[in-house]
Symmetry: C2
Subunit: 415 residues, 2 copies
């Protein structure tokens, strides 16, 4: 049997036992992993250096190398997150609904683990600890498949996790790392419906696209954010400018940053020049439609492609629209159903926007940058779902659960 | 553009408007469809006769032809279900959660339609009305693709639905039937991620398997039921017999009927002969393991394949086990995660069974035949999900919904 099949079988064999562990047993294991990470940080850093050396030899960009680095600080941060995770409520076993039927049977809907989670991810080795800990907290076994570039680091981290699990009451085999990082193992994982209950891709657009297109295992899709902000005619000008600058510049490289700004023509007449000025002060390149270009010589023309693009950079597309309906139509045509905002003091326009834009999170008079499990108060985040089934928007621990119906009777039969 | 693409685009163009319609507007449309079905029943029967004639020419089995038939009674039953559907609560707009964050933003999680539902189904033309009405009630547009054998009937039904929608405030194009029932259109539908938010296959195992394997559109899987009943040592003998007979024989052709019976060896010693006798009186063919064969000469040997088979017929596999753990292991190995039961008076065995069997519905001292949206009190049923994401077990109207987060602020920006 291949490494992949052996490990998939191992992971699956632990799922039922793991699913029955108590909250205390699971939290104890997370604490043991945190301790072990701190104790073995020197070993982890040493192994990580192999990945860094190889990445430099291959000429990786500095930003990519930065994502790979595990130093004492980062390892201690990981350990701290594990300790924080123990404080979150355990969703498993929660009774979501309970009712009796006229024939006397009692029906309970309870939360249970998904079973076995397959995780396919890129570069960042911290995803290894993150995924393993979120899965263990929710009673899920996990099969990890990271990238070649982080293999030394991932092996070291899983080694440390195993040493901690050995001291815990959770099954050691519940966390497994695939060490063959060839494309073939990924392709095989896509079809492992017998072993995996769900696949979660974490990484770039291309990785996620490939998994969605090729996987027969159900996928939890965490996707791209081509996010918009619409400044309505009635918008408070200070608020609109502050939110627009924040949504674009506070951290341009993340999925909930604004990519296209839509501005009501009447608001534009009064404030567009000063808004463009503020963006320039923040080193933002502007690509505008024809109307926007009339406000400033330095606005470049926006192409059709710009409306579709998640820049993830200090680039912003701007379009002037006639009303809220034009804004809604533009967003529903080009948006990626992630996070969309309206700045307005006109309540019926806000309602129309909230009801008509098809996206996971809709903001009125607030920055799109709040779409995030921590900002929502979930205490942990699996990712931000842009799909409509199972979970939509920021996903906390419950996204890693399913349900079961438990029915109790006294001999009832179907008439 | 092909018929498929034209209709997919039409359906999609209505989704946002349809999603905003009020409960009253949607219920009114359902009533109009019910009236129109009753008024045009002669036309529907006439068109249906074309399908029946063709089916007879092709030499279809009587049972298949029976599924195709639409007579006055069946049409009135469909109309009655539509009237009943108007009484069910509308899930759309329901606020599932609402909270404020320390920074003052208010977050609401509300139920919204999925958008566009693609429905691929076989033979039974009543699915056309069923699917259309459940989708309309939940504000979803629907693209229907039935089978060639029911094409005359499906066209007639959708014609009637359109005439009713014309008189309603819902968009007429929200329900569309693909009239090209070639395999190619199905294959194209599997990849229509741009138009469809979800695909629901309804029909045989092979159809569902094909959709799950080939679709890149997310699938709501309604699956096969290889259901088990375990009679524990402590089971009340009358109750065990009554439930076993009911689960197998009340309607053997449905997914929640029992296919394999597992019996504790000590209970078997006392009651197996009389249980087998009862099954025989009910014309049930028994295929047993070696131990079961010792109880009656007419028990045929069960093959490995029998443990895996959903007979959907008056055939039952029986295995004698040593304890509840053997029963759990057998079910988790061969079951299809649908409905599984235990008859026992031993509470810790019941708890172990409930916690360790991985299935949508687990029964204690009741027949597995209750896994059904109506028996659960949902008032409607989309199908019974055997997947773990989104919805598990009997699916009522909420399974046809997604959620949105609506966030209200007063100018909050991310620090």
């Amino acid at each position: 049997m291949s490494d992949l099949l052996t490990k998939a079988a191992k992971v699956k064999s632990t799922a039922i036992q793991l699913g029955k562990k108590s909250t205390a047993q699971k939290n104890k294991a997370l604490e043991l992993i945190a301790d072990e990470l701190r104790n073995q940080s020197a070993f982890i850093v040493r192994e990580n250096e192999n990945d860094i050396r190889l990445a430099r030899e291959k000429g990786f960009h500095d930003s990519l190398i930065d994502r790979l680095i595990l130093n004492e600080n980062r390892i201690h941060d990981m350990a701290d997150s594990l300790n924080q995770l123990t404080n979150l409520p355990d969703p498993i076993g929660e009774v979501l609904e309970e009712w009796a039927r006229p024939n006397g049977i009692n029906i309970k809907k309870v939360r249970v683990p998904l079973g076995v989670v397959g995780m396919i991810y890129e570069a960042r080795p911290n995803v290894t600890v993150d995924a393993a800990s979120l899965c263990l907290k929710t009673g899920n076994a996990v099969l990890l498949r990271g990238s070649t570039s982080a293999l030394y680091s991932n092996k070291a981290l899983v080694h440390v996790i195993h040493e901690a699990l050995n001291k815990s009451e959770l099954p050691n085999d519940a966390v497994q790392l695939i060490e063959d990082t060839s494309r073939e193992t990924a392709n095989q994982m896509f079809k492992m419906n017998e072993y995996l209950d769900v696949l979660i891709p974490r990484g770039g657009k291309k990785l996620i696209q490939t998994v969605v297109e090729q996987s027969t295992v159900p996928v939890l899709e965490t996707g791209a954010g081509n996010c918009h902000l619409f400044i309505d005619e009635s918008a408070n000008s200070d608020m609109a400018m502050s939110i627009a600058i924040n949504a674009k510049t506070q951290r341009p490289s993340v999925c909930n940053a604004m990519e296209t700004l839509l501005v009501h023509e009447n608001w534009a007449k009064q404030h567009m020049s000063s808004l463009i000025h503020s963006f320039k002060e923040n080193d933002v390149e502007i690509r505008g439609d024809e109307a926007t270009q009339t406000y400033d010589d330095l606005v470049k023309p926006a192409s059709e492609e710009d409306w579709e693009t998640e820049f993830l950079d200090k680039i912003l597309a701007i379009k002037i629209v006639r009303n809220v309906n034009d804004a809604i139509d533009h967003i529903n045509q080009y948006g990626s159903k992630h996070s969309e905002g309206i700045i307005s003091e006109h309540l019926s326009n806000v309602t129309e926007f909230m009801n008509s834009v098809d996206a996971a999170a809709l903001y009125h008079n607030a920055s799109t940058r709040f779409t995030d499990g921590f900002e929502f108060g979930f205490g942990a985040e699996i990712g931000i779902s842009t799909q409509k089934l199972h979970a939509r928007g920021p996903m906390g621990l419950p996204a890693l659960t399913s349900t079961k119906y438990l029915i109790h009777g006294e001999g009832q039969i179907k008439q």
